[in-house]
């Protein structure tokens, strides 16, 4: 379904009434002005008829019209129309004039003795008047008619002069509606700009004070929704915190007792079983942490963005990693430069921890892992590089998927680490790239995972 334009809708609603008003306005203006004009033209015909009547003469041979040629010319001269006349005797017999000019319709009443009517003559529409005259002492009549060219022209002029302003007004109305809607919707456009400019985690209500009254219901509905989303997000966070607690405490107990048992002298088979329990415990704990991190990294669950420096973040976590590195005999090094970002400290720490964990996990004893932070141009980055076996180019997309592990990979990873990193990077608008390590040999290509944050 195409988006419905409020403007088009308004115009569609306005057009029929405007058109009707236009027609009505034209009619209202037309008829009152056509009537006096018609009467005035008719009066001209009546005058001609009366003056024609004065030229009727009576003789013993009957009645005749003694019309001087000059008068006839004056009578018939008209710039637009042809003028016809006919004189009828007391019994309706033609005395003079144009033969066949129709008389008044019999049902038409005379007004002041005159009858005006529309008829046709010589194939043209004509306007005619019948004027009473005297043939001696007997009443007779004169009919005068003219074609309707100037009348039609006049009617057209009247119609045009009354319609033109109406059309202009209607057009102006449509233009005003067109631009008025845009202007009137300005507050809505500003509102949508404000919402668009928000960070996804910003669930504060929209300030209703500076919005027009008409948009208040919308703003208040939006605020209601925002509040619900914020509440849901808050509930989710609380659920995650509780879930973390519920999962981690028994795991800590399990780990403690397993380690206690392992510290005792045990039969070889029992020790071997117990070591597997211990390893599974640690893996489960890590998996629980990762799932929680993944859940927290999901859109809508991050509302803790602050100004951070990746350098400080890496420094604060270095202690924990150094001990892991020592246990694996890996040389963990740092090249940390100032790298400011807008981000969620917990999630970024988690991303960095996953990258370092992977690098340590896949490094050989005696290998090197380097953590870097800094800026390239205006973009902050963090990257972790190792000199392990690396990731073949064909697998680099897939390793970012959840639970995917490169076939043949040793170790017991869940395949979640890089998926979490990708999720967290995406949540920060950052891009992630996997390349060979700098200066990696062909034997061990090494791996470098870099997260580059948006300009800022």
């Amino acid at each position: 379904m195409p988006a419905r334009s409020l403007r088009a809708h308004l115009l569609r609603m306005l057009l029929p009434p405007i058109a009707a008003l236009l027609v009505l306005g034209a009619l209202v203006a037309y008829y009152p002005s056509i009537e006096p004009a018609t009467t005035a033209y008719d009066q001209g015909l009546i005058d001609a008829g009366i003056s024609l009547g004065t030229y009727i003469r009576t003789s013993e041979r009957g009645y005749r019209l003694e019309l001087p040629t000059a008068v006839d010319q004056v009578l018939r001269r008209d710039s637009y129309d042809s003028v016809y006349y006919r004189v009828l005797g007391p019994d309706g017999e033609p005395i003079a004039g144009d033969d066949g000019l129709p008389g008044p319709p019999p049902d038409r009443d005379a007004r002041d003795g005159f009858v005006s009517y529309d008829t046709a003559y010589k194939g043209q529409k004509v306007r005619a008047v019948a004027v009473p005259a005297k043939c001696g002492t007997a009443p007779c009549s004169v009919v005068v008619a003219e074609t309707t060219v100037k009348r039609r022209r006049m009617a057209r002029d009247i119609l045009f002069s009354s319609l033109l302003p109406e059309i202009l007004i209607a057009f102006a109305t449509l233009v005003i509606v067109w631009f008025g809607v845009k202007r009137g919707l300005g507050p809505l456009a500003r509102l949508s700009d404000e919402i668009k400019a928000r960070s996804p985690g910003d669930l504060r209500p929209i300030a209703a004070a500076d919005t027009p009254e008409e948009t208040r219901p919308l703003v208040s509905a939006l605020n209601g929704l925002l509040e619900e989303v914020a509440q849901a997000s808050h509930n989710q966070q609380r659920f995650l915190a509780n879930a973390a607690h519920q999962l981690r405490t028994p795991l800590a107990g399990l780990q403690a007792h397993t380690e206690l048992a392992l510290a005792k002298s045990l039969p070889r088979e029992v020790r071997s079983e117990l070591e597997q329990v211990h390893e599974a415990t640690i893996r489960t704990a890590r998996l629980a942490n990762q799932l929680l991190a993944l859940a927290r990294a999901e859109p809508g669950a991050r509302a803790n963005a602050t100004e951070l420096n990746l350098k400080t973040l890496a420094e604060s976590e270095a202690d924990a990693w150094v001990h892991q590195a020592l246990a694996r005999d890996v040389d963990l090094g740092f090249e940390l430069e100032w790298a400011p970002v807008q981000g969620d400290a917990f999630l970024l720490r988690e991303a960095l921890a996953n990258l370092v964990h992977n690098a340590l996990e896949y490094s050989q004893a005696g290998g090197r892992v380097t953590v870097r932070t800094g800026r390239k141009g205006t973009q902050s980055f963090l990257e972790v590089e190792d000199d392990g076996p690396g990731i073949p180019p064909a697998e680099r997309e897939r390793v970012l998927e959840r639970f995917y592990r490169v076939p043949g990979t040793p170790g017991t990873g869940s395949g979640l680490g890089l998926a979490i990193v990708r999720e967290i990077a995406a949540g920060h608008g950052a891009s992630i790239s996997i390349t060979d390590a700098m200066g990696g040999s062909s034997a061990t290509r090494g791996c470098r995972v870099a997260i580059t944050f948006p300009h800022g």
């Binding site: 028994p250 107990g253 007792h257 415990t281 640690i282 942490n289 202690d319 963990l332 740092f334």
Partner: protein, 224 residues
């Protein structure tokens, strides 16, 4: 040493108790925050291990009350929650260290040792690290009970490292601690002092680990 464990999860509490008893400590356990506050008011513990997620009076409240005491005891906070502000709140309220559950027991015992050492050293004139002993008042060092010659700056660097055993101390932090002495110090100069310290201490089994690009870490003494 006397330790108090405040943890409501019985299996974890008993595990912690047995591990710390095996380290030679006297350990009391309670599962209730109110009881922990009472016990701490009556008796002196060298360290309190405090779970944040307690029923009723939670760990934050217990921590606040312990801090309000006349002679605050060192507190190691255990938390199962990973929210950043939990960590900040814990440390703001005066926890000396925190660990997120679950944790490896060797890490826990190392942290406990570090905290106990720090609280012993605090106010005490003697810092002991394996066979190394520093008399901070007389400014004399002993290795295996033999006097150890240390230059003033070597002493300063060693003192910084001893204050944070098993933790990385950045070169910048070392420079800041040592440069109170007037002139500027380059990171290279620090390397020189550390290498001199190493040649004096490593034969006795005391290791200073280099963390490439960052700083140094005095490892826990694990025997010669």
């Amino acid at each position: 040493m006397r330790l108090l464990i405040v943890e409501d999860d019985a299996p974890l509490a008993s595990g912690l108790r047995r591990i710390l008893e095996a380290e030679g400590h006297a350990v009391d356990v309670t599962s209730r925050g109110e009881q922990a506050v009472l016990a701490a008011a009556q008796e002196r513990f060298d360290l309190v291990i405090l779970d944040i997620g307690l029923p009723q009076m939670d760990g934050f409240e217990v921590l606040r009350r312990l801090r309000a005491a006349e002679r605050p005891m060192p507190v190691l906070v255990l938390t199962a929650r990973d929210a950043v502000d939990d960590r900040v709140r814990g440390l703001d309220l005066g926890a000396d260290d925190y660990m997120v559950k679950p944790f490896a027991m060797p890490e826990l015992t190392a942290r406990v040792r570090a905290l106990l050492r720090r609280s012993q050293a605090h106010g005490g004139p003697r810092i002991v690290h394996g066979p190394l002993a520093l008399d901070t008042v007389a400014r004399r060092a002993f290795l295996k009970n033999e006097p150890l010659e240390l230059a003033a700056r070597e002493w300063a660097v060693l003192e910084v490292l001893l204050g944070k055993v098993e933790k990385i101390v950045s070169k910048e932090a070392i420079i800041q601690a040592v440069a109170g002495w007037g002139d500027d110090l380059s990171p290279n100069a620090i390397e020189v002092y550390v290498s001199r310290l190493r040649s004096k201490l490593e034969p006795a089994g005391i290791k200073i680990r280099t963390v490439r690009g960052f700083g140094y870490m005095l490892e826990e003494y694990k025997g010669p």
